[in-house]
Amino acid sequence: MKIESKNVNNTLVLILQEKRLDASQAVSLKDEISEYIKADNQNIAINLHTVEFVDSSSLGALVSCLKLMGSRGRLTLFGLNKPVISMFKLTRMDRVFTLCETEEQALEALEA
């Protein structure tokens, strides 16, 4: 799984490089983001703009990361393409995650 990262103020921005998040990637998605959380990054914003497709196993991996973050800090997602937003809405996970359009909005949401 290709993930680029950068620090902006107190936030770690993770930029996924995959077109599809499916069952063949779900485990490494979960493991790699979990590493960043365990490394004590308290604000994480994940950029999904390259992602055109998310299946339920990868959605589950993201939920698992959100739970791992728990009260340690905050996690937001931004740059979601239309089919990805639909997936979050269909499964009602749009009520659970903080979904932002742009990096700016994601940073604002985390630092609020």
């Binding site: 499916d22 069952a23 497709f53 299946d55 339920s56 589950g60 739970k67 728990g70």
Partner: protein
């Protein structure tokens, strides 16, 4: 009617072959929102065959047939793996019930069949001659 049949080996990385064929076949009759629903359903279904019916044993086969009619698409998925308890499917109601504020108890799985039910117009399952047959129908 336009007929297409894809047979893949039971590995998660091959699910995207089914996704590609589904969207290419369906693109002739469905809008982009419906295409997303079809792609998602086929991926969830084939993932389930690999994960549950074949319990992730590789080099088994999953067959995916596409029949595109004037006003609807039928997708038939067949595997030789373990049977499904049909009550599981019957008890899925296509909705997603959980408390969004109860972080610790958020579901990390169990979405697949509900997604398929919510995305397709008809979902049928049959066990025939030691095979699992899934019949998905979507109207244009």
């Amino acid at each position: 009617m336009n007929y297409t049949n894809l047979i893949i080996s039971s590995r998660f990385e091959n699910t995207r072959l089914a996704a590609l064929c589904a969207t290419e076949v369906a693109s002739r009759s469905f809008n982009s929102e419906a295409l997303n629903e079809i792609e998602l359903s086929i991926v969830e279904l084939v993932n389930n065959c690999i994960e549950h019916a074949y319990e992730e044993s590789v080099n088994q086969q999953v067959s995916i047939e596409f029949k595109l009619f004037k006003d609807h698409l039928i997708i038939e998925v067949t595997d030789n793996g373990k049977a499904l308890d049909p009550s599981i499917l019957d008890n899925m109601n296509g909705s997603f019930d959980f408390d969004p504020d109860d972080l610790d108890n958020l579901p990390e799985g169990g979405f697949g069949l509900n997604i398929i039910k919510a995305s397709m117009d008809e979902v049928k399952y049959e066990r025939l001659n030691d095979k699992n047959h899934w019949l998905l129908t979507k109207f244009c």
